[in-house]
Amino acid sequence: MDGNIVGYALHYSGILIEAALILYVARSSHGNRPLSVLPYLSCLLAADLARAYTLREYGLTSRQYSYIYWSTDFLLVISAFFLVCLFFRRACLHQEKMWRFVRLLLAFICLLVVGISGLLFSHNYGNLLTGFIVEFNQNLYFTCLVLNTLLYLLLQQIDSADDQLGLLVCGVGIQFAGPAATLALFHLMTGEGFAQSLAHFTIPLCTIGMLLVWAYAVVHVKDTATQVTRRQIPVLAEVTAHFNIQV
């Protein structure tokens, strides 16, 4: 019961923070850069509202809630992938050559995740939710986690002057890495009670953590994306030149 109360409190707090952040970002007229998080935040709010309604009507263990939860998770991982793509675009704002390479790489990655999840679905044909959607969600989730880490390393490499983007990427890192780390702990502890309860609260806590970091980034950190990077390092230019991409 206590766990349920904490779960509901986290759920509704998350909805309130999401709504407040959407309103702030939509109303702030200075700089359009934070608007890139708006589609993802809208999807997050819509998903959480739909889940809250279904949870209240049918309960946690109902089939309806499960279907709504995993279907909206499908929408959320896809929007998270596009958010990471937008962040890559923003990071490569002054490096068109690198962006052409990254764009192609992201397109291939998206196709490959669909293909690999589809292969597993072909072994479990006839069960779309557990056979394909959940499998696809999990694969794309971990892909976003790895891509976000690569993006963070890229920002360090090019010594980006865009501090706001750095914080937004860190927020996404909290969102993705926290549950993955807890899952690893859960697996190592072979599903003991402590790890199980930790895993139960980590997902909403990490989402709220991401929202709070984003709120700080949007409210307090200046948008400096239009400035040129602090110091041009030719290392990545050499890497992209090595690929010599002509798209």
Binding site: N4, G7, H11, S13, G14, I15, L44, A47, D48, R51, A52, L60, T61, S62, R63, S66, Y69, W70, T72, D73, L76, F101, L104, L105, F108, I109, L112, V113, I116, N124, L129, T130, G131, V134, N137, Q138, N139, Y141, F142, T143, L145, V146, L147, L150, Q175, P179, A180, L183, A184, F186, H187, T190, A199, H200, I203, P204, T207, I208, F243, N244
Partner: protein
């Protein structure tokens, strides 16, 4: 064409790394007979997966 193939191979490497990490972290149905643990996005409580329809 060569660059396209190289980019595709790099993308394949990234995706296979992600899938491997996922399998290591969350387990597979065949691992010690446990159901795979799941990650998700959002603030709502995570429900159990519905049983597959026969």
């Amino acid at each position: 064409m060569k660059n396209l193939v190289l980019t595709f191979l790099l993308a394949l490497l990234v995706v296979l790394t992600c899938v491997s990490i996922r399998r290591m972290v969350s387990g597979t149905p065949s691992f010690a007979g446990q159901k795979p643990a799941l990650v998700a996005i959002g603030c709502a409580p995570v429900p159990p997966l519905p049983k597959p329809t026969q």
